[in-house]
Amino acid sequence: MRTILTIIGLSIGTIVFLIGSTIVDSLKMNMIEKIDEFPDNIIIYQDISSNSFAYLSKMDHNETITPYNKVKVSDNIFIKNTQYIINYDITGTSNNFVNSGVPGSGEIPFSQINYLSGRVWSKKESEEKQLVVVISKYTAELLFPGKNPLEQFLLIPGIGRFKVIGIVNDLKEFAVQKDFPTKENNRLNLPDADVYIPYTTFIKIVNEKEIDLEYGDNIQFVVQKNRYADKITEAIKKSDFQFELSQLNNNYTRNKILLTINEDLQSFNIIFVSIYTLSIILCGFIVMNTMFFSIKERFHEIGIRQAIGANKSDILIQFLYECGVYNFLAVVLGVSVMIFLVSVFKIVLINHFIIYLSIQSIFIVFLVSFLQSFIFGLIPAIYATKIDIIEALKFE
């Protein structure tokens, strides 16, 4: 009975750790799941080398543009989902409608776009072609003076109502920098009123509405295409385009968010590891206590074993082995219980929360259990080897 209780005690220690690690891992998984809805790294690049290519005509659009295109920019950086961003360039408003104007100009790396409030659209919003929009600060001031534009709607004639989900900085400042000379920009003193919508939404609009998008139309789109990414790469190689890689690590990159999450979860980890360490020590003393009781109970048996040929190392190995078996059974029991609990929670929380019991955690408990049996079983086992054979044989 004592052995069974010891095994149960040890398995509770195992479960404590597995619960902790499962919570941390599950939180992480769930956060990553949410973050995965964001594009990995977003960059927009506008080329001014010609009058026409920067504006997407229907003809341009018919070119194949893959939403999940992966473009190698340098040896270290991969830019995904480049086409998720469209610079919808406006210059003013009239009756809250977007009017025509001179399109945005200048070379604008997306790393210069910082979210002032709100958020970028999620992958889901993009894939479902939802009418969401991110606008620049200047656009916000033009369209929603004195109001918080977030959750407001931006009406684009002939297209629909776009919900404002984020506000970014104005890019005009960047456009006028000498490193990025503009070719045709007659409004250098004013920022562009930029509006960004998901590329997929744009495609949907173009396909369904059959809007003729020509230069000079009321609505003009600027879209990044694959070949511009190649140009960036080329420019970097030629060093005539000072592209700061670090600029990509703005506050909204996926990697940076993941890093932040990892840092936060590290605190959880420290707490759970502390609890687990305490439980290991506690369980270790339980093991030690049980082993001492077992040796006391089998005092006579130890003498018999020595009389029939056991030497000290045989006795040592026997008790370490028994201790190891207790721990192993306890871990197997603990892991089984956890697998059962996780399965139940998975059924209960289906689609709401990801429960994740990692193989790594299971491996850790087995490893720790092995070490625990050795460390806490060693002292009783050594004690057993020191038992005097005559005393043990006399003991009844």
Binding site: H300, E301, I304, R305, Q306, A307, I308, G309, A310, N311, K312, S313, D314, I389, I390, L393
Partner: protein, 221 residues
Amino acid sequence: MIEIRNCLKVYDQNNIVLDYANLSIKAGEMVAIIGESGVGKSTLLNIIGTVDKMDEGKYFFDNKEISKYKNKAIAQFRTKNIGFVFQLYYLIPQLTVYENLDIPLNYAKIPLKLRDEMILNVLKQLSVEHLKNKNVDNLSGGEKQRVAIARALINQPKVIIADEPTGNLDNKNTINIMKLFHNINKEGTTIIIVTHDLEIAGQCQKVYEIINGKIIERNLN
């Protein structure tokens, strides 16, 4: 084969149990050690069996001085040369007969494939093969002693040391166990029996009595 010279064994500083005693036992002999309770019969037996050490003196076994051996070597010596039979059998409870016989083979590092045959042979030799899978807790006294003797014989030791082996048995079982010892002795195994039963001692070739710490050969006839 066994020679003990000037053996001194003192308990609690004043209680001299063996007082520079001497003993010589030849290979193949069946010897009884008798004496009153507390005179040191079991102590002498434990010294011969190397589970106890003398305070002074020398112990030779096949002309090798065992008293110089260190713990590990003594354990190896014991496993190889000595088989113990106790009055209260001292089988490991909750294990089967087979498992009890397997323990000394395990300590002697006998390969697994040989063990089964060795166990079956010794069980047959003692006519207890039918008890092979029985738990030792369920055996009678006579059966337990047979199994204990089987365990003592399993490693084919040169000497069997039996401490009051019939002390807990009825007459019938006593006779059977003594027959068994005689048979084992006939096959060349030296047997040393500690007993206070003169009838048992009388069945042995030599009888030694411990008196005042000295070992004296007695003729019971």
